[in-house]
Amino acid sequence: MAYVAIADRDHDIEHHDPTTFITKYIWSQDHKVIAIQYSITAIFVGLVALVLSGMMRLQLGFPDSFSFITPNNYYQFITMHGMIMVIFLLTALFLGGFGNYLIPLMIGARDMVFPYMNMLSYWVYLVSVIVLLTSFFVPGGPTGAGWTLYPPQAILPGTPGTDWGIVLMLGSLALFIVAFTMGGLNYVTTILQARARGMTMMRLPLSLWGIFMATVLGLLAFPALFVSAVMMMLDKALGTSFFMPAIVSMGEQLDYDGGSPILFQHLFWFFGHPEVYIVALPAFGLVSDLLSTHARKNIFGYRMMVWAILAIGGLSFVVWAHHMYVSGMNPYFGFFFATTTLIIAVPTAIKVYNWVLTLWQGNIHLTVPMLFAIAFIFTFTHGGLTGIFLGNVVVDLPLSDTYFVVAHFHMVMGVSPILVVFGSIYHWYPKITGRMLNETLGKVHFWGTLLGTYAIYLPMHYLGFLGVPRRYYAMGNTEFMPESAFVLNQSITISALIVAGFQLIFLYNLISSLRNGEKAGPNPWRATTLEWQTPDTPPKHGNWGHTLPEVHRWAYDYSVPGYPDDFIPQNVPADPSIPAYDQGSHGPDHGTSS
C-alpha cells in the first residue's frame, strides 16, 4: 500500500471542529490557539525578565541606592533574566509562537500533524514556566549562578538559591526540553509531510526554512542541556562527582572528588551555541519575508539564503568552545574553534548582503514592519561584527568576561531578534486578529526602541574595552577606571529605563487594537505567501475551508514583469500568455544548476 501524502488525501480525513469554549480556547488543539497561548505566556515571562533587567540597571547605574537590591538579589536577577530571555521568551516565542502559527498556514496545511502532542507541548511549557517562577517564592529564592549555571559554584554556598532555586531551575529546564521536543517533532514532521500540493521545500518561505533548521538544531542540542542538568542534579542531590572535584568551600572539606567543571562547560556550550542560532535562524527567516514583502521585491539569492541557513546550522555544532577560550581548557583547542567560528561569519555575512540587496532596486514601503526589519539589519550587522572580535581567540583574551561580551550578545541575540519579533507582530497581527495595529503608536514604539537600545549598547562595548567586568554587582573604587565610566553607566541605565517605558506603548497598542484597530482585509500587505490567502481572516479551524490550496510558484513573486499586480500569491497558476522569467537573459551564466 503506497503512502499518499497528507495533502493528497485531505478529502478522506475527517475534520472535527471544537464546539465548547474550553476545547476552543483552553484545551485547544488548534495550532493558531496554541501559538497564541505560547506567545502570551512567553511575552508575560519576558516582561518579568524585563523588569529584572531594569532592577539590575538601577543597581549598576546608581550603586548602593536601592536597599531592595542586595548582591544576592542582583545575582538572582541576572540569572533569571538571562535564562528567561534566552529560553523561555525567545526560544518559546519563535518556535512555539511563530512556528506554531505560521507552519501550517504557510505550507497550506490544516493543522500540525499531531495536534494533541502540540497541545501537550504548550501545557508542559506552561508548567516549566510556573516551576521557574515558583523559585522566586521558595526559601533562599531563585538560583544566582548566572544563566550558564556553572558548577561547582551553582550548587555551593556563596551563591544564592543553592537549596531550592537551582533544583527548580534544573527541573524547569528539563520540563522545557520535554515541551520543546514534543513541539519540535511536530514542526519537523509537519513541514516535511503536510505541505500542500506543489509546495516543494524550495518554495517554502524563508521564515519556514529558519524555523525548520532552528527546530532541528533544538532537537539535537537541547539533549546536551538535559544531560548536564541531570548530572548536576545528581551532584547536588545525591552527592555524585560528575562535575565536582575535591573542594574546600568556606573552610570546609566537601565529599566530592575528581569531577571536572570543564566537562559541564563543554556540555553546556554544546547546547548553548546552537541555542544562539535556535533564536537567530527564525529571526533570519522572518525578517527575510518582511523585507521582501515590504520592498515589493523577491528576496535576493533565495537559494543562497537557504544554503546559508543550512551552513550556519551545521557549523553551529562545531564552534561551541569559543565560549571557553579562557576557561582553562586545553589552549590548543583555540586554533580550531577560532577558525570554525570565523568561517561561520561567511554564510552569515552573505545573509546580510542579500537582505540589503533585496532593498536595492526595490519599491520600499516604509511601513512599521519594514522599519523594524531595516533596524534589524543595522543592529545585527553591528552585533555580528563584534562577534568577530570575540570569536578571534586572541582578541577575546582582553574582552572576554567584560561588558563588551554583554553588549555583543545583547545586540546580536537580544535586540536583533526582538526587533524581528516586533516587526513580525506588526506584520502578522492583522492575520491573527483581523485588525491592524495603530501605525502612529507603532512608529513611536519603533523610534524609542531603536534609538534607546543603541544608546544602551553602543557605549557598553567601550566599557568592555576599558575593562569593566560583567556580572559585577558594583564596580566600587577601581584604580584604572575613570569617574566618567560611572557617568556612562548612569546614562546607560537611563536609556534602559526609557526603552522599557516605550514597550508599554507596544503593549497598549497590542491590547487596544484588538477592539479599536482598523479592520484589515485578508491581505493588507498584498503578500504572496499562503497564510494571506485563507478564506477567512482570522483563519478558522482547519484554515482552508473545503479545499486545500495548491501551490504554483515560490513565495517571492513580487513585481514580476508583465503582470498587472506587483505580487502573485503562491496559489495562483502561471499565466501562459506572459513569458516566464528566464534567468539566462539576465546574466551571462546561463544554466540550470549552480
Partner: protein, 221 residues
C-alpha cells in the same frame, strides 16, 4: 566530545544532505514547473508518525551520545575505578534480544493480518521487556549489595544513570505497547494496529542497539 560530534555529524549530514538534494538543480522562481507540481512531490513516502519516531530517535541518539561523551571524558580523571558488571546483565541482554525478535515477528504478522500471532507476539515482547527491566533492577540491587554505591565512584554513578536512562526510554515504549496491546485484546483488527506495531518494532530495535553499545562500553571500561 568527539563521540557526540561524530554522531551529530552523521545526523546533521543526513538532514542537510536531504535538504540540499531538494535545492540543487532547482530554479525556485519558475512557476508551475512541471517537475515541481506533481502530487506529493518532496514529501517522504512514509507515515508522519514514522518521521516523528525517526526524529525522536535522532534526539535520543544525541542524548545517549552526549552521555557517552561525558562518560569517556570523565573516565580520564584519576579517580575512575571501573566496577564489575553483574553476570545477570548477560541474561538481561538476552531478554531484550528476545523482545526485539518478538516485535519483529509481530510486525510481519500485523502486515499479513494474522491477529492471533499479533496478540502472542505483543504479549511475548511485553513480557520479555518487563523481565528485562526487572532484571536491571535486580542488577542494581546486586551492585548496591556489592558496595558499588552511586556516590562511591563516577563509574558507578554513570552505570546507574545510563541504565536508568535506557530503562526510562523502554518504559516510554511500554506505554505505546500497552495501548496497542489493549486495543488488540479489545478486538481491534490486526491491520489497524499495524502502524503502532511497526513503530514499536523500530523503537525496540533501536533501544536494543543502544543497550548493546552501552553494555559493550560498560564491559570494556
Amino acid at each position: 566530545m568527539t563521540f557526540a560530534l561524530v554522531f551529530l555529524a552523521v545526523i546533521m549530514a543526513t538532514v542537510i544532505g536531504w535538504l540540499l538534494r531538494q535545492s540543487l538543480n532547482t530554479q525556485p522562481w519558475q512557476a508551475d514547473d512541471p517537475l515541481e507540481n506533481r502530487p506529493g512531490r518532496g514529501v517522504i513516502a512514509v507515515e508522519p508518525a514514522k518521521i516523528a519516531l525517526l526524529s525522536f530517535i535522532a534526539v535520543a541518539t544525541s542524548l545517549f551520545a552526549l552521555f557517552l561523551s561525558a562518560y569517556l571524558m570523565r573516565m580520564k580523571m584519576a579517580d575512575w575505578s571501573p566496577l564489575t558488571e553483574p553476570k545477570l546483565l548477560w541474561l538481561n541482554t538476552g531478554l531484550l534480544v528476545l523482545a526485539s525478535i518478538a516485535f519483529q515477528l509481530t510486525r510481519s504478522a500485523a502486515t499479513r493480518g494474522q491477529l492471533p500471532t499479533v496478540k502472542t507476539g505483543l504479549i511475548a515482547g511485553g513480557v520479555c521487556t518487563t523481565l528485562f527491566l526487572l532484571g536491571q533492577l535486580v542488577a542494581w540491587q546486586q551492585l548496591n549489595a556489592g558496595g558499588y554505591f552511586m556516590t562511591g565512584n563516577p563509574a558507578n554513578a554513570f552505570f546507574y544513570v545510563l541504565t536508568a536512562l535506557h530503562g526510562m526510554h523502554l518504559l516510554g515504549g511500554m506505554w505505546v505497547w500497552g495501548r496497542t496491546t489493549a486495543r488488540v485484546l479489545a478486538g481491534a483488527d490486526a491491520r489497524s494496529v499495524r502502524l503502532s506495531v511497526e513503530l514499536c518494532t523500530v523503537y525496540w530495535h533501536y533501544l536494543l542497539l543502544v543497550w548493546i553499545v552501552l553494555f559493550a562500553l560498560l564491559l570494556s571500561t
